[in-house]
Amino acid sequence: MTRYILRRLLLSIPVLLGIVLVVFFLARVIPGDPCRASLGEHATDQICDAFNVRFGLDKAIIPGIYKTRGGFDLIPADIPATLLDNQFVAYLGRVVTGDLGDSIKYGRPVTTLLAERLPLTIELALYALLFATLVGVSLGIISAIRRNSPVDVGTMALANLGVSIPVFVLGLVLQYVFAVVLRGTPFALPPSGRLTAGVQATPLAEAWGLEWLGGPLRGLLDFVSNIYTFNFLVTLRFDLLGDAIVHMILPAIALGTISLAIIARITRSSLLEVLGLDYTRTARAKGLAERTVVRRHALRNAMLPVVTIVGLQLGTLLGGAVLTESIFNLTGVGRTLFEAITGRDYVVIQAFTLIIAVGFVVVNLVVDVSYAWLDPRIRYS
């Protein structure tokens, strides 16, 4: 098992290096001027030159290549001088030391932005995944057991609709249904925002009298504080917890539906396959109740592909988060990244895509390892 994990870790190194490279160059080739994008079209050349010096954007991107107002310039004579003194080396140095730089638009460290905005996206993605997995797996099992029944046909038709409806359309439909059609009934839900207007979350550091704390520990504490449902749970503010959950229901459903449909389909087909295998027939021949056959014998093996699929949903969820956060007026990673791309905030683009891609690789690693742990055949092949 250790050998398998090591091999898997080694395999992800080239991918991580590739990600670091792609993130840097992708951020640079996006045309447009970060200075004018953040200071406005009327910024003078003089102001912009100072701006570029402040953010190190006047330096060569890679040895000899500069970004100019019109595009890219190659100055071969500068290659030796800029061999080490260029944006790429500076970027690599920062990545290695874990310094993500300052946002061009907000002028604040990106780590602060992340601490403020990543928790929301994590919360949203987790609830979406929870919803998708619980409902998806249950629907998949019911469909497989009652194959070709109206329940099965209906579930699969809904699953088809689920993978076909765009996240932003579903989000808008949910807003309309739960905020307009059901207004005044107990089922009405707030259509946007993270908490009811005027309600504020207290940072954990303040709630626990730990304001003297500094450094990374404080950063971590602030990060956790911004996972509102967790914050309210540990500070026992159940009124606020309810408010936070109520606001999270619609976005989580909108975001999780595609994954739900995929999980339901995989669960169904996987369980159907296992139910047709010889060992299941043996279990039935022993006279076991169908319940036991499904629960004790079939489900365990049928869940293997489901684990992989659940892990792979993270990418879909993060992509969908851009849309969900826009629709539901939530300030998370997705929306920040989108605004950074359109606003040419290179530092934020770099940092956020890097975090997302690395997170994705790590999750895939965890999925693969847990898969190998669940299914010994993988380890030894």
Partner: protein, 314 residues
């Protein structure tokens, strides 16, 4: 799809080969038409294609014309059909008008044109490039295979939509740019499917036999391996059209795709989504059309998979 395949095969040999190949594909087509999901999918796609093709004839108004003159419905008008009891002195509109007084029904029809073309073009481009990469990787094996596939892994490490947003902003705003961005993002999926498919065919006896008969590498790949490795691509490609439609619409929704005033479903939703609580129809009509089109392609894709994948024979 079946037509293209027979054509490729026909080019490789004599008339006899063509006749023999046509048989199984006609069988498959018959099987496909017996599938409920495939038939429903085909009907949906046909209806929307018809709407797109004849949008100019069916649409009561030009899609970009503001109907705010005297005797015209004006801004964000409610639907009004005289036959359904709307007072005769009010101007008729089937689904009402949008925030710029344009006829919603006409715009939705014209949007079908954009989404269909975008879906086919994007998936086609991605399938072409992706399957070429996958075929080369699978057939060449070794270092080239490893290199190509690691590049694909890196691309897959980014959430598709996030990468598409980044590429689309690099290329600039516009429908063509967003189409290219979505196509690039979906290349790795097709490359992987094609590679796996080529790998499974490459080692078969008939390929070894051809090699022994002196067939060149190129000939082996193009004439012997590819025709038998294409089946999964047809299925994934059809499902990919739906995904392509969804993703380009998402880019348009975010303002990176089709630019105003042209009618595109994602952009139509984007310009009115703040009014969802007051005038839902303006948002829900293009949203429904978008969903319907994707449902169509997904149903057809599912039907194709059930027909073409022998492992699922029941």
């Amino acid at each position: 799809m079946a037509g293209t395949l027979t054509a490729t095969d026909g080019a490789s040999g004599d008339g006899l080969a063509t006749a023999r190949v046509a048989g199984p594909w006609r069988d498959k087509l018959r099987m496909l038409l017996r599938q409920r999901s495939a038939v429903i999918g085909l009907i949906i796609i046909s209806i929307l294609s018809f709407a797109a093709l004849f949008a100019d004839v069916i649409a009561p108004h030009p899609p970009n014309k503001a109907l705010n003159g005297p005797g015209e419905p004006g801004r964000r008008a409610q639907p009004c059909v005289h036959l359904l009891g709307c007072p005769a002195d009010q101007p008729q509109t089937l689904l009402g008008t949008d925030g710029n007084s344009r006829d919603l029904f006409s715009r939705t029809l014209h949007g079908a044109r954009v989404s269909l073309v975008v879906g086919f073009a994007t998936a086609g481009l991605a399938v072409l490039i992706g399957s070429t990469i996958g075929a080369i990787a699978g057939f060449a094996a070794g270092g080239l295979d490893n290199g190509l596939m690691r590049v694909m892994d890196v691309m897959l490490a980014f959430p598709a939509l996030v990468l598409a947003i980044a590429i689309a902003s690099t290329l600039g705003r516009g429908l063509l740019q967003s189409l290219i961005a979505v196509a690039i993002v979906s290349i790795p999926i097709y490359a992987r499917v094609m590679r796996a498919s080529v790998l499974s065919v490459r080692g078969l006896d008939y390929v070894t036999a051809s090699r022994a008969l002196g067939e060149t590498n190129r000939g082996l790949l193009v004439r012997r391996v590819l025709p038998n490795a294409l089946t999964p691509m047809i299925v994934v490609g059809t499902l990919g059209i739906g995904t392509a439609v969804l993703e380009t619409a998402a880019l348009s929704f975010l303002g990176l795709g089709m630019q105003p005033p042209d009618a595109e479903w994602g952009a139509m939703i984007a310009s009115e989504f703040n009014g969802i609580l007051t005038r839902p129809l303006i948002v829900l009509v293009p949203g429904f059309a978008l969903t319907l089109l994707v449902v169509g392609f997904n149903l057809l894709g599912d039907g194709l998979r059930d027909t073409l994948d022998p492992r699922l024979d029941r």
